[in-house]
């Protein structure tokens, strides 16, 4: 039994709410579809980048560990103390379907391509590891941007999907049931009234 008062006013109100809900449902569904489309593109790129980073970073990391093993700790730290290039990152946020996501732009200052240390006290593994890492930096930053974007989009898509489902399977059917209930009740009252009038007319006609 729906808990609404079967009045004409309530019926008008419900009908208006149903129209709004249906419109909102359609809009949210379109938004969700577009977000999923973008997400699919991004997640593919995310996986490519991660595959690449995992393969190449491991190489660089083991290079550092190897060179660390053959050099003394002070010499090792001294070699890396002064970066050969300044890595600057321009970080801002952009909006994808009104989800704010980060946007990074790597700005590597002019560098001479030289290593930040002399060759005397360092091992060759270190040179290679530094070179590898330098090459890898833009990929790492892109991975950071895309992975964060994917996480944010995924959370948002989940939220929107829940809203769409709540509208589609709970709110809209409930309102339709209420509207049906009120219409039937009003019709029933109408019929009751009509029958009563006809009966009254018969009674009065008999008396005269």
């Amino acid at each position: 039994m729906p808990n609404v008062t079967p009045t004409r006013m309530e019926l008008t109100r419900l009908k208006r709410r149903l129209r709004t809900a249906e419109r909102g449902h359609k809009l949210l569904k379109d938004k969700r579809d577009e977000m999923v489309r973008r997400f699919v593109l991004l997640i593919r790129r995310n996986k490519e980048l991660r595959d690449e980073v995992e393969a190449r970073l491991e190489e660089a990391m083991s290079g550092f560990v190897l060179s660390r093993a053959v050099m003394s700790l002070p010499a090792f730290e001294e070699a890396l103390l002064l970066p050969s290039r300044q890595t600057q990152l321009k970080a801002s946020t952009q909006s994808i379907m009104s989800v704010s996501v980060p946007k990074f732009q790597l700005e590597v200052s002019e560098d001479s391509g030289a290593l930040p240390y002399g060759f005397l006290t360092t091992s060759g593994d270190l040179d290679q590891a530094v070179a590898l890492l330098t090459l890898l930096m833009p990929t790492l930053i892109e991975l950071a941007e895309i992975e964060k974007t994917c996480t944010r989009l995924a959370d948002e898509i989940e939220k929107i999907r829940r809203r769409v489902n709540a509208l589609e399977y709970v709110m809209i059917p409930e309102m339709q049931a209420d509207i049906r209930y009120i219409t039937m009740k009003l019709d029933e009252n109408e019929r009751g009234n009509l029958t009563r009038l006809m009966k009254m007319k018969d009674i009065i006609a008999e008396r005269v």
């Binding site: 290079g63 550092f64 946020t93 980060p102 964060k148 959370d155």
Partner: protein
């Protein structure tokens, strides 16, 4: 103010110094947690834009990291440590995909 920072075991991450990344060595999750909090502040008060964390530490301090996941910045990204990848990064991609699409569309061929 550094823009990019990395947290991880000293020997594995120290090389990032050479490419201009701020290095914060941490061997245990207990050491990493305060660093994460410190680096995830607002940009104006000493936070960074991108924070790389080695996978072992990322996994162990997931709770700390999750408190920052609703902010667009910083992007906290797990990277493989010197031991190689243990699959945390891929697990995140998969979780995101299942959350958003409800199905596995990238890793299907592997199973």
């Amino acid at each position: 103010m550094p823009d990019i920072a990395i947290i991880g075991a000293r020997d594995a991450v120290i090389g990032f110094k050479a490419v201009g990344v701020a290095v914060y060595p941490a061997e245990t999750p207990a050491e990493a947690r305060p660093l994460i909090h410190q680096l995830c502040q607002e940009r104006s008060t000493g936070g960074v834009a991108v924070l790389f964390v080695t996978e072992e530490l990322y996994q162990a301090s997931a709770e700390t990291i999750n408190t920052y996941k609703d902010n667009p910045l910083p992007a906290i990204i797990p990277i493989p440590g010197s031991q190689g990848s243990v699959g945390i990064g891929m697990a995140i991609i998969r979780a995101n995909m299942e959350k958003a699409i409800g199905a596995d569309i990238l890793f299907g061929e592997r199973r």
